[in-house]
Symmetry: C2
Subunit: 263 residues, 2 copies
DNA sequence: TCCACTATGGAGCGGTGTTCCAATACTGGA
DNA sequence: TCCAGTATTGGAACACCGCTCCATAGTGGA
């Protein structure tokens, strides 16, 4: 059982589930997924494993909680923060449209991986391990409300929402690797603009380019675009693609409100 | 280094990377992800860890190889095997259309999780860990060729293919949990039709239905559909949704060839 | 004052991935 | 045919992990 009431102060700040989760997130951020260890955690919190296990059942549960906390923070950001990206692509569209809100959620998660490179892996794990956990529903709910607001008929809510969520989580995950590289060196947003990100993409697209041309003609063909693409733009294009599918399929009267044919 | 030439027979079948990967897949299938242990592997192959490490660098590399082998097998199945599902939804469409081939690939992977419940987790992990590995390109290439065949302009190949691949892998993953349950009891295809699958979905949708109605109104609303939906049908609907987005966005002249407005 | 209960920290257990190394199987050349 | 020398093997040992168990300390109520 967990502590029920808050008690008087101790010499050191009392241990709590929140403090543990917070420490776990920091460890994940600074030391990577393999850095989150009960040993490291006990050292950081100046306690023993037993104390931690009184607040948390499992390492899995701890990972769940850490992921949930980060996702909640990412979803709680002011939607306007990410409006730039949305307006970047559709200046003519109402800024409060469900489409824009979906894009805002998507970018909220997309941007969260910059500080938390371990996020996509955990999201993917929890999606395929326990979809009914505490974190997947957060995302599903956020996207789903906007799908409903779009006017999608109720019978298709699940499919439409799933398509969006899966794309967002998948694409976010694919971009995790480079983000991890960028984050490992110095503060991410500084000038020195991703020297090793280039290096990394070089290696990746080189690896793809070196695949057997007979077996992988398509991949070799897109390897070039891979190197030049802008992550956020590409990501947004994918979200809009799914949005287009939803509106074209379920809102026959409103195709014009979605992305016009690309240039 | 790996063995270069095949040698004469030994008393026991010579150890080889193939034999190791094969054993790993069997262990994963029968004992789950936690069942793949170097100890279990050495016992099954009647050897020591050192011998295995001469053929395989890492446990990660072993998992990669196992995943790659299973994916290759799944993609190699006769496309007609899964045509049923495609025709189920669009009897009027040419059976060899790129759309149908994409659906066939999707169902190939979808069906593979029945025998290999660990697949989606590994796919998700490798997608977010090393997208340039040996398994992601296989899927990307297969889907990408059909995207190209659809007539999508080259500049959008990457986005369109990504959207499809991410949806397929994500949705496959989400369905992994129930499949795992179904597989754990007796042979999967037998009569006794998923007693515990129902049980499982009950628990899942019940858990969703019990979420705080104030925080999760949307999820509670779809929890009902969740229980009744047919996995394959739902999965197909998602694939078609993305396909519709692709054609509507990039092939303005051919919307009529894709899914008509649902009933 | 005593007691039941919450909460803590540490010793230690079983198990894991991995390394290291001595011993063996095998090969090509003398 | 024998003999280096390399390719391959099996097993002991290591460092580390998640986790359990337990003796103990703090706390509030009777």
């Amino acid at each position: 059982m967990a502590p029920r009431t808050r008690r008087s102060q101790r010499r050191t700040e009392a241990l709590s589930r929140e403090r543990i989760v917070e420490a776990a997130v920091e460890l994940l951020d600074t030391a990577g997924e393999s850095g989150l260890t009960f040993r490291a955690l006990t050292e950081r919190l100046a306690t023993g494993p037993g104390a931690i296990y009184w607040h948390v059942a499992d390492k899995d549960e701890l990972l769940d909680a850490a992921t949930g906390a980060v996702v909640a923070a990412a979803l709680a950001v002011e939607p306007a923060t990410h409006a730039e990206a949305a307006e970047l692509a559709k200046p003519a569209e109402s800024p409060d449209s469900p489409q824009d809100k979906i894009r805002a959620i998507a970018f909220g998660l997309f941007d969260a991986i910059e500080d938390h490179p371990w996020l996509p892996t955990q999201l993917a794990l929890q999606l395929s391990r326990s979809p009914w956990g505490s974190v997947t529903p957060q995302i599903f709910e956020g996207i789903g409300r906007q799908v409903r607001a779009l006017g999608v008929p109720e019978g298709h809510w699940f499919t439409a929402t799933s398509a969006l969520v899966h794309y967002i989580l998948g694409a976010t995950g694919q971009n995790a690797a480079n983000a991890a590289n960028a984050a490992n060196t110095a503060s991410a947003r500084t000038l020195a603009p991703d020297v090793d990100r280039e290096e990394f993409l070089d290696a990746a697209s080189k690896a793809w380019g070196e695949l057997d041309p007979d077996d992988y003609p398509f991949i070799r063909a897109v390897a070039a675009q891979m190197r030049e693409h802008d992550d956020r733009e590409q990501f947004l294009a994918g979200v809009d693609l799914v949005l287009t599918g939803i509106t074209a399929l379920h809102l026959p009267g409103e195709q014009d409100r979605t992305t016009p044919p690309a240039t």
